[in-house]
Amino acid sequence: MNLKHILSEIEKVDPEVYAKLDTRRSAMKEFARVSGKIAMAAVPIAIGSMFKKAYGGTRGATGTMDTVVEILNYALTLEYLEAEFYSTAVSKGTALVPAGAPAGAIATISGHETLHVAYLKSAVTAAGGTPVAKPTFDFSAGGGSGNGPFKDVFVNYQLFLAVAQTFEDTGVRAYKGRAAEIVKGGDYLTAALNIHSVEARHASHIRQMRKANNFGDVKPWITGKDTGGIGTAVDASYKNEDNITQATIDITTLPGIGGNISFNAATESFDEPLSKAEVLAIVGPFIKP
């Protein structure tokens, strides 16, 4: 290995490396000081802190630190919702979720959502923002009345899994819906993507649980805009999932096996984003004003 070569490689990635070395010096020092004191798992957050100092305000219209903080807080709000939903379910014990594989799966998911909350709170702070406070939730979807359409969600296993599926599928769509705003967002974007795919794994498993219990005729992926028999109350979470056009290409015109790609395969093979406004409208009834 050749040190001059490494420097030339850095110069290719960052042509202004020499000029920046001095101006970023304090940020580098701070990074070195902080990273020496914290656990390895938290290093990406410390890098985030360093990047704010080194790059803050120079990222252009997309990916500004204000945007990053706002998106992290948006994600945090959704993770608060999921974390409390699953921790409440776990607290009900076998009265809600059968022992064995089902309880194990819900505990696994609950653990991830709690970790996501902690991670995102740290990330918001590291990015120079203030983590939003946890809202007061109403999982009956009653807007605080506790008497909404899902009021039996923690006593009725079938309803619980239906709401869980909706939250997971909505979460996947919500992360996707903000990705474009943090294009070239470095570690923040990677972190968001690395949460996004975990939510998709959860969604897949919850759907399998519903299918195994004959609670809904669903597959691990979303077919058309089908809710799997949950009902019109959750239609907004599946709106536009029947899209078959990607980057102006109609997927059903492409060659598949034994004919063109089917409508079902075209819709299943691409998950669709939801805008911030759409997501807030969906979660609104679950939040006490």
Partner: protein, 234 residues
């Protein structure tokens, strides 16, 4: 020559030694931060000076990343086409239906990239499945698990290398479907392993991979030589 000796030589050669030491300190701080990828790239170039004309060139920039995704989708599609053409012993109707769905999704992804990349698309890759026993459920599902987990980690890792927001969203639309596949395949192998600690870190985040790490794994199953040397690295 070791790093230390090289630096000392540079310091000796410089007229103003104190300035040079300051630069050195800053430089070391910078390399400490820079991702390991930079170092890997620097080293691999030393080891392999004749880059270019080194197999199928994925290209550079966003096109390179899209071709990288196209290469992985070609691999997955070819695998599932074979799985359904020669199903493993005693495959259940349910498993065959699910694996057929996945086959069709991967073919859709493959054909989408081919069409979207048009004249910039790489050629069809030749795969090498000699290590897979398509008559064995364990072998097929084990390979499927490896491919799906790899695909998720690849899209997640490549996200930050994409500059066009539309392409980033497209990658996002696909990666969550790959994650749904991965979770299902894992549950078919061992129910409840849909998101275990082999793919999820202590923060509850998926463990992503950058292109060199992905291609090193995928390369076992791809006969065609791939030149990824022009892909963006940061």
């Amino acid at each position: 020559m070791s790093k230390k000796n090289l630096l000392e030589d540079q310091v000796k050669a410089a007229g103003n030694a104190s300035t040079q030491r300051l630069s050195r300190r800053n430089f070391l701080g910078y390399t400490g931060l820079a991702s390991g990828l930079l170092v890997v790239a620097a080293c691999s170039k030393d080891d392999n000076p004749s880059s270019g004309n080194n197999g199928v060139d994925l290209g550079s920039g966003d096109t390179g990343i899209l071709n990288y995704a196209y290469a992985l989708e070609q691999l997955e599609a070819a695998f599932y086409i074979q799985v359904i053409a020669t199903p493993y012993a005693n495959i259940s109707a349910t498993e065959k239906a699910l694996l057929t769905d996945i086959r069709d999704h991967e073919v859709a992804h493959r054909e989408f990239f081919k069409k979207a990349l048009a004249g910039s698309a790489i050629v069809g890759l030749e795969v090498d499945f000699t290590k897979i026993d398509f008559t064995s459920r364990d072998s097929v599902l084990g390979t499927a698990k490896a491919f799906e987990d790899l695909g998720v980690s690849a899209y997640n890792g490549a996200g930050k290398l994409i500059t066009n927001p539309d392409y980033l969203v497209l990658a996002g639309k696909i990666v969550s479907v790959e994650a749904r596949h991965a979770a299902l395949i894992r549950d078919l192998i061992s129910n409840g392993s849909f998101a275990d600690s082999t793919v999820i870190d202590a923060n509850g985040l998926e463990i992503s991979r950058l292109p060199p790490a992905v291609l090193a794994i995928a390369g076992t199953y791809i006969k065609t030589k791939i030149d990824a040397s022009h892909l963006p690295t940061a």
